[in-house]
């Protein structure tokens, strides 16, 4: 089954505490998946980026596809963007990265 047309985010596994934006979600916009999940984006979530589905405590794991993909390096609010500013690797962080 294709994903629902109206859904603008997807939770990949039931235990995930983040969802992935399927299209750009504006600050204040409603984020919803094809099932029952619904919340308000606190800030802009660009396509392919992660949104917190629940409050995530400092040092708690970020769970995507049922697998830990990093640790929170700050407390993260529900509806907030989850990215390098609040996530660190359990393996190797690249301190210096260059992109334009």
């Amino acid at each position: 089954m294709p994903m629902d047309r109206r859904a603008n985010m997807v939770r990949l596994a039931p235990a995930d505490n983040v969802a992935v934006a399927l299209s750009d979600i504006a600050a204040g916009e409603t984020a919803l998946d094809r099932a029952e999940l619904q919340l308000t984006a606190r800030e802009r979530i660009p396509q392919g980026h992660k949104i917190a589905l629940q409050p995530i405590g400092m040092d708690d794991p970020i769970i995507r596809f049922g697998m830990p993909v990093g640790l929170a390096k700050a407390a993260i609010d529900r509806g907030a963007l989850v990215h390098i500013h609040n996530v660190r690797s359990r393996y190797l962080d690249n301190e210096v990265d260059h992109y334009e």
Binding site: V10, A21, S23, G48, P68, V69, Y91, D93, N94
Partner: protein, 415 residues
């Protein structure tokens, strides 16, 4: 392994395989192309080799080579594998003359494989101009012969296919990569040989992979290969996670890994290859892309093209390459099919991309449907159709210094 996930054969979608044709080789393998490889054996011979190939690059002359002057068993092994690859029907070696590459050994190995081969040493042939002239005469004559070569019917089980991602984004692991995984499942069920790669981009997935290994010993070898990659990159101070990934939504190497891993599909893992190893049996293999031993000779794979080149050296006649940011690369010896994770980049780079996985995020197609598009594209290429990168003349090739020990017995448990 007994607890490996059970799977059922996926139904093969209705795809006409009847037009697939291959070029039979002496070793029993079949090529989907009949290329002539022009190979330079040191950077100092690169210009002459390029000028020899240039007028014929639309007709099947492919430029490959190794820039180093110091000896390298690894580079020798890879170039040997390229020159005796099923997609290659004849070879011209171009040497300056004083580099340390064992050019006569390479020429002999190519001749033993049943392929026409010529070795031209620039220092013995009067320099640039005369070597280019003589080289072009050889290439022109051989291309005529290759064009007339007979073909035989080709089955999916005759194919060895690799997959690689480059410029992954936050949608790669949701759209195009699982679609490749579905295509790989269909291929494995039809008896094909497939491989995925880049142990540094599987960090965090090692336990799950081990659970898919056909023996506990292979599972342990898979875990050790990823641990080696992690340790190697820690020592280097820079992992396989970069600015482009961050820009497009990935936050850590382990998040990138989960997405990259989706390309491998769901079938059991039957072997662990080092670059140039030929899979001894069909099924899904992992390629170990990191040097053995202490950190030396620099970054293991300097770019996507070197990793692709290593899979081609292990016999892939075709590569499925996925991207989020948008890659345009091809490969000199094995055609590349490119799939993209999002419709925005598909529209921006539509000339370069063969398959759009963005339709999955857009709610228009399922992972299975896009996987079937990929399989159809594979069949079309094996029936003579050109991929986008081929049609645009891409012939990327990269080879740098690396060092490997031979693979251990645990790596090929089923022989």
């Amino acid at each position: 392994m007994s607890d490996a996930p059970a799977h059922s054969m996926a139904a093969i979608p209705r795809i006409d395989l009847g037009r697939m044709r291959g070029y039979p080789r002496q070793d029993g393998r079949k090529g989907i192309r009949n290329f002539l490889a022009v190979a330079y054996l040191v950077e100092c011979a690169h210009h002459v080799a390029r000028r020899i190939a240039e007028p014929f690059q639309e007709q099947g002359a492919q430029l490959i080579g190794f820039p180093g002057c110091y000896p390298s068993d690894y580079a020798h092994r890879i170039l040997d594998a390229m020159c005796t690859h099923p997609n290659v029907g004849a070879v011209l070696l171009v040497s300056l003359g004083c580099e340390e590459f064992r050019r006569s050994d390479l020429k002999d190995a190519i001749a033993r494989s049943g392929r026409p081969v010529e070795l031209m040493v620039i220092q013995d042939r009067g320099g640039t101009r005369s070597t280019i002239e003589e080289g072009r005469a050889f290439v022109a004559a051989e291309l005529m012969r290759l064009k007339a070569a007979p073909t035989v019917p080709l089955m999916l089980s005759d194919l060895t296919i690799g997959t690689k991602c480059g410029g992954s984004d936050g949608l790669s692991g949701i759209t195009i990569n699982p679609a490749v995984g579905h295509a790989f499942d269909l291929l494995v069920d039809q008896g094909a040989t497939v491989m995925f790669e880049e142990t540094p981009e599987l960090i965090g997935c090692e336990q799950h992979m081990a659970g898919r290994a056909v023996t506990p010993e292979l599972g342990a070898a898979l875990i050790a290969a990823v641990a080696k990659a992690d340790a190697y990159h820690r020592e280097l101070g820079h992992g396989s996670f970069g600015g482009g990934n961050i820009k497009h939504g990935l936050s850590t190497i382990e998040e990138k890994s989960v997405g990259a891993y989706a390309k491998s599909g769901s079938r059991p893992i039957v072997g662990l290859l080092k670059p140039g190893d030929r899979p001894g049996r069909p099924g899904l293999h992992l390629m170990d892309t990191v040097n053995d031993g202490p950190v030396k000779l620099g970054i293991p794979n300097i770019n996507d093209t070197q990793t692709v080149t290593e899979m081609v050296a292990s016999g892939c006649q075709l590569i499925v390459f996925t991207t989020g940011a948008g890659s345009v690369v091809g490969q000199a010896i094995a055609p590349i099919i490119k799939g993209v994770s999002n419709s925005r980049v598909f529209q921006r780079l539509s000339d370069d991309i063969d398959v759009n996985g963005g339709t999955i995020a857009d709610g228009q197609e399922s992972i299975q449907e896009v996987g079937e598009h990929i399989l159809r594209k594979i069949v079309a290429l094996a029936s003579g159709e050109q991929s986008r990168s081929e049609a645009l003349g891409h012939q990327e090739f990269a080879l740098a210094y690396k060092s490997y020990e031979p693979a251990g017995p645990a790596c090929f448990p089923l022989g």
